[in-house]
């Protein structure tokens, strides 16, 4: 059941509050029910995050089953690595906890420390070996303009970190709002070039966080369906596909 586990997560990077379209908290909740975890990084530097934005960030992460970190732009790279890594662990830990509850009626953190280390080691191994698909949802509205080079390099750095893992990875960048009035744009760049999707964008207008998350979830699910299809074509992994692909 643990071979070929695919983890899907969204990471929202924003310095403001949504002001158009569907409620992002609702979208994150929906994504979660489809097996996509959503985490949020809120950026403080001269943005419009404020108390409202901070609360929204926390609520999105809570509904999306992920983590929320409010940071300064200088810490972005480190935080992105940490959040993606820990979200993977968290998602797997939740699956393990569910099993443990069924088996022994307790979650890992309530187990005595010696037993806990065994669980932790197991989760760590799966985290290293799982296939992971990450949608980076990047707010490129006006106030983010000055931070774009930092975001671009943080994305490049995240790709370096993912490339070092044993399991496969796929990184998709979704920027919002679009340059021509669309809610969000999915960039189809792969590997080391993925960061170059974040260029000198000068987007104006609203901050449609909810619709952007919807677009991102759709993009992730499409690539999952694509994967499932190719796997079925090869017909090489018996009948236990569900657990493998819908962890979380």
């Amino acid at each position: 059941m643990w071979d070929g586990v695919t983890l899907q997560q969204l990471l929202l990077i924003t310095d403001g509050c949504s002001n158009a379209g569907t409620d992002p908290v609702y979208v994150a909740q929906t994504g979660r029910s489809k097996g996509v975890t959503t985490s949020v990084i809120g950026i403080l530097d001269d943005g419009a995050l404020g108390e409202q934005g901070r609360r929204e960030a926390e609520n999105i992460a809570e509904a999306g089953g992920g983590m929320c970190r409010i940071i300064r732009i200088a810490d972005l790279s480190r935080t992105m690595q940490m959040v993606t890594q820990q979200t993977m662990q968290l998602t797997l830990q939740q699956v393990v906890n569910k099993e443990l509850r069924n088996l022994v009626g307790q979650e890992a953190n309530a187990l005595p420390p010696e037993t806990r280390t065994k669980v932790a080691k197991f989760v760590e191994t799966v985290t290293e070996e799982a296939d992971v698909q990450i949608g980076l949802v990047v707010d490129v509205s006006a106030s983010m303009t000055t931070k774009m080079t930092s975001v671009r390099e943080a994305v490049r750095d995240l790709e370096l970190g993912l490339a070092a893992r044993t399991g496969s990875h796929r990184l998709i960048v979704i920027t919002y709002p679009g340059l021509h009035g669309e809610d969000a744009v999915v960039h189809r760049l792969e590997g080391a070039q993925v960061a170059d999707a974040i260029g000198a964008m000068r987007a104006a207008g609203n901050t449609p966080t909810g619709p952007a998350l919807e677009t991102a979830i759709r993009a992730l699910l499409e690539s999952r369906d694509h994967r499932l299809a190719t796997r079925e074509d090869r017909a090489d992994d018996g009948g236990e596909g569900l657990m493998k692909h819908y962890v979380g």
Binding site: A61, E62, G65, G66, M67, C68, A74, S77, R78, M82, Q85, Q86, Q89, L90, Q93, Q94, N97, E107, A108, N109, P112, P113, E114, R116, T117, V119, A120, K121, V123, E124, E128, T149, S150, E153, R156, D157, L160, G161, L162, A163, A164, R165, T166
Partner: protein, 335 residues
């Protein structure tokens, strides 16, 4: 979900004097002071019953458990031997109705690499790196890389110059992805290799530490590099190795390690060691052989390098006043 919330629980800062009862082992821990913050948690110096130990309190129980387990396995195969801090407990502590995961280990005394070099002088850099590499090689032989090697994770015994690694949260099986790192010491960040844990990853960080001890990269430069591509950072490092460092031989060796020209850390270590021996022979006349230097002679060196403070100026002024007064008296006397 309870788990997602649990990861978000931020551990409060515990004040000195706070007593944290352990949940599983029957020990309690009295906070003495905060020592530092690592990626997995906050480290305090505490009293465990009557002993002074260090505890690391984290918010992520799995991360703490894993760090403990990795250290325990290594201790089982290496013995403590001054490489890994001695381990005591993996436990949970209770405070204000919340439970926090923690591990208790040996409290290690020492000075930071910068302080050490400040006290002893830059000619000690090769020896420090040599000793550090030897420890890292021991870990590599057991299939692990330390990974988060940096000044903040290292202490030196001021008398024996023995280095101690203090935060094993980044310890990673060779071949897996590096989980904890600091940009400044990260090979991949500088565009000089992958972020996979291997012996070369540690060697790079070790050479960068040497560079930082010689001439630290300014925070402004680091800030600027953060928004540049890895290729630009790579070029910056190359330029810097050529232009900024004045210490010829050490510069060449560090530069070779940073550009991956050594096949293994031991090769890097041998060249550093040779440099140290040469240096020692050249300086034998006035230094009396640094290896034999005792803590007493360190004190002498330290005094020699000390800056003038108020007492010194006060004494000088007192002497001057005394001379002028005596002179005046003599002059009056001779009238």
């Amino acid at each position: 979900m309870s788990v997602s919330k649990r990861l978000q629980v931020l551990v409060p800062e515990f004040r000195p004097g706070t007593v944290l009862p352990g949940k599983w082992r029957g020990h309690s821990y009295r906070i003495m002071r905060l020592v530092g913050r690592g990626a997995n948690g906050t480290v305090y110096q505490v009293l465990r019953d009557r002993d002074v130990v260090a505890i690391k309190i984290g918010e992520n129980a799995a991360a703490i458990a894993l760090e403990y387990e990795r250290m325990r396995e290594l201790t089982a195969s290496l013995g403590t031997a001054g490489i890994i801090p001695e381990l005591y407990d993996l436990d949970d502590v209770e405070h204000g109705g919340e439970v926090y995961p923690m591990l208790a280990m040996e409290f290690i005394k020492g000075v930071s690499p910068e302080e050490f070099i400040d006290i002893r002088g830059r000619e000690w850099i090769p020896l420090c790196l040599t000793k550090l590499l030897r420890r890292l090689e021991t870990l590599h032989a057991k299939g692990y890389a330390f990974c988060d090697l940096k000044s903040a994770n290292l202490l030196f015994d001021p008398d024996t110059a023995e280095p101690r690694l203090i935060d094993f949260g980044g310890l990673t099986p060779i071949g897996q992805a590096v989980r904890e790192f600091t940009e400044l010491y990260d090979r991949a960040w500088w565009g000089r290799g992958t972020r996979k844990a291997d012996s070369h990853y540690d060697m790079f960080a070790c050479a960068l530490l040497g560079l930082q001890l010689l001439t630290p990269i300014s925070p402004t430069d680091l800030e600027r590099l953060r928004t540049r591509r890895p290729a630009d950072r790579n070029a910056f490092l190359s330029r810097r190795c050529v232009s900024e460092i004045k210490d010829g031989q050490l510069q060449t060796i560090l530069n070779k390690a940073l550009s991956g020209q050594y096949r293994e850390p031991a090769e890097f270590r041998m060249e550093l060691a040779a440099l140290w021996v040469n240096d020692r022979e050249e300086n034998r006349g006035n230094m009396g052989g640094p290896l034999k230097m005792t803590s007493g002679s360190v004190g002498v060196r330290k005094r020699a390098r000390r800056k003038w403070d108020m007492t010194d100026w006060g004494l000088l002024v007192a002497v001057a006043v005394f001379v002028v007064t005596m002179g005046t008296l003599l002059w009056f006397g001779s009238l």
